[in-house]
Amino acid sequence: MKLNSTKELALMANAIRADIIRMVNAAKCGHPAGPLGLAEIFSVLFFSEMDFDPKNPQKERDIFVLSNGHVCAGSYSAMAHAGYFPPEDLLTFRKFGSPLQGHPSRKYFPFIDNSSGPLGEGLGIACGYAAALRLDNKPQRVYCVVSDGEHDEGSTWEAALFAAKYKLDNLVAIMDRNYIQIDGTTEDVMPLDSIEEKYRAFNWNVISIDGNDIPQILSALKQAKDCKGKPTMIIAKTTPGKGVSYMEKNYKWHGVAPKDEDAAKALSELAAERKKIEQE
């Protein structure tokens, strides 16, 4: 299902946000801040950019590698709305017997392209996919969502070297540059700026955007497609906790679920936002 207007994509991002709140609230644990900040990116990837058939996930399609697996509440929601599984199942997230594991696993679904959770692995897995597609002269592309915090991991930079060496221009990574990690801000825990200059020095095509701005995301993905001979890193500055006033920019919501009362407040804020988008 493709959504063609910014408004429709914004409504989908809003729906994803509401799901995230319901899911972590029902699970009584999980990671709300990260995926709330990524809602526009998930919306654009699954409803505008990527080519896939939810009825036939084994068919050749674009690859989605989620490196920071803890934000999976958002990607699960997008996958459910896209038609991979019924949205009602989202409330089984993190519960015993549910395929919606706390961190995504290939074991349970043919449309989950990597088992993730341990940070610093997804970019390298995406390189492997991109190299395989290249070997087979396939037109499909690899989309990899990475966090900023996992750039503390040396293995992420190993993958950055590899992708540039092999000129994997069928790989586009989107960094959730939200400036938070578990113990504080990224610049306090382990400074990363200028992350743009670092990636440029690693010989990547680097595009900086506001990661909560749908037209900017669309345009960056278009530029990535046009770039030949280099992998693309889209540095997407996002607001962690976006859409929920008390969560925004507060690293303490990285891995804490809202209680019922807080969840209700969050959902009413998101409902108000939805009305606003609809009226625009």
Binding site: N114, S115, C127, G128, Y129, L135, A159
Partner: protein
């Protein structure tokens, strides 16, 4: 010395045995596989010739990935290639792969069920002069502790080729432990290599010697020494350390009543542990585990180190004789 004729072995005592390494067996087998199956790809971390994938790389440059000194990334790139339908073989020294990249192997390859094959070509004391940092003596333990991976330890060049061909046929993760040093080649193309089985190379009734890798040959020499003293030792080659061949272990526990295990590896977590785990559940008998007794190695020739740490035929024979005294009468 009477060998099990069904195993089609060459006389281990013959001075004319050809010498070659298990890493060479890997390199040759990988080249054969590459010619037959275009899904085979190879990765290394700046050690192409050392790990013998240069044969493959020269013939199939498009299917060869030089990852640089990045063992962690090598493992996840291999996982991605495997998820996309390729059959990657990733190789380095055992100290670095699986030593450095264990978590990537656990998560991306084993949990992620990647059809990837990890081959370490420099393992054990026989790495030699490079010293303790490079002598992987814990790799079997590291790999045996992860679900969903098969662990193979071939004993010579010929068996290494079989292990690599078997690894390619398995649909899932495999670890193959190979070695650097040239060792006598005493198995033949006809020697059986069956997953899940232990191979009886020489039968015996007084004691059982279970050996793996480079020390199977020394164990056969030990059995020949014991025979001169009227002691009948069985020698069994354990090349698959995944799920153990419990029925063979139980049979020899009942038949001989005492075990010695011999491996170029720490005595915790490798062959010795695997045999103990199995025999404890069926028919417990005393087991003496020969291997590195939880210490680090040092520089020297492989043969000097094996001698220093007691992993040679005469000492295996001596330990076996002592072990006879532990048997329950």
């Amino acid at each position: 010395m009477e060998l099990n004729t069904q195993m089609h072995l060459l006389n281990p005592l013959s001075p004319d045995l050809k010498k070659d390494s298990t890493r060479e067996g890997y390199g040759k087998a990988l080249l054969e596989l590459g010619e037959k199956d275009s899904r085979i790809v190879a990765l290394t971390a700046d050690l192409a010739e050392s790990v013998r994938v240069h044969y493959f790389a020269e013939k199939f440059p498009q299917r060869f990935f030089q990852c640089g000194i990045c063992e962690q990334n090598m493992a996840v790139v291999a996982a991605g290639l495997a998820y996309a339908g390729k059959i990657p073989f990733l190789s380095s020294f055992g100290a670095f792969s699986p030593g450095r990249n264990w978590e990537q192997i656990r998560s991306a390859i084993c949990y992620g069920n990647a059809n990837a094959k990890i081959v370490s070509t420099h393992t054990g004391l026989t790495v030699g002069e490079d010293g303790a940092t490079h002598q992987a003596l814990e790799d079997v333990s590291l790999m045996r502790s992860i679900p969903n991976i098969r662990v193979l330890v071939p004993c010579d060049f010929e068996q290494a080729k079989k292990a690599i061909h078997a690894a390619a046929k398995i649909n899932g993760p495999v670890y193959v432990r190979a070695g650097r040093e040239k060792m006598p080649v005493f198995t033949t193309q006809e020697t059986p290599f069956e997953l899940g089985k232990i191979s009886l190379y020489k039968d015996g009734s007084d004691i059982s010697i279970f050996a793996s890798g480079a020390l199977v040959h020394e164990s056969l020499l030990a059995a020949a020494e014991l025979e001169k003293e009227g002691i009948s030792a069985a020698v069994l080659n354990v090349y698959d350390l995944t799920e153990m061949d419990n029925s063979t272990i139980e049979k020899y526990a009942k038949k001989t009543g005492a075990f010695v295990t011999v491996e170029d590896h720490q005595i915790k977590g490798g062959l010795g542990s695997a045999i103990c785990e199995s025999v404890c559940e069926t028919h417990p008998v005393p087991v003496h585990r020969m291997g590195m007794r939880m210490e680090f190695g040092q520089s020297g020739k492989g043969s000097e180190l094996l001698k220093h740490y007691g992993l040679y035929s005469s000492n295996i024979a001596k330990v076996a004789k002592e072990q006879l005294k532990t048997k329950k009468r």
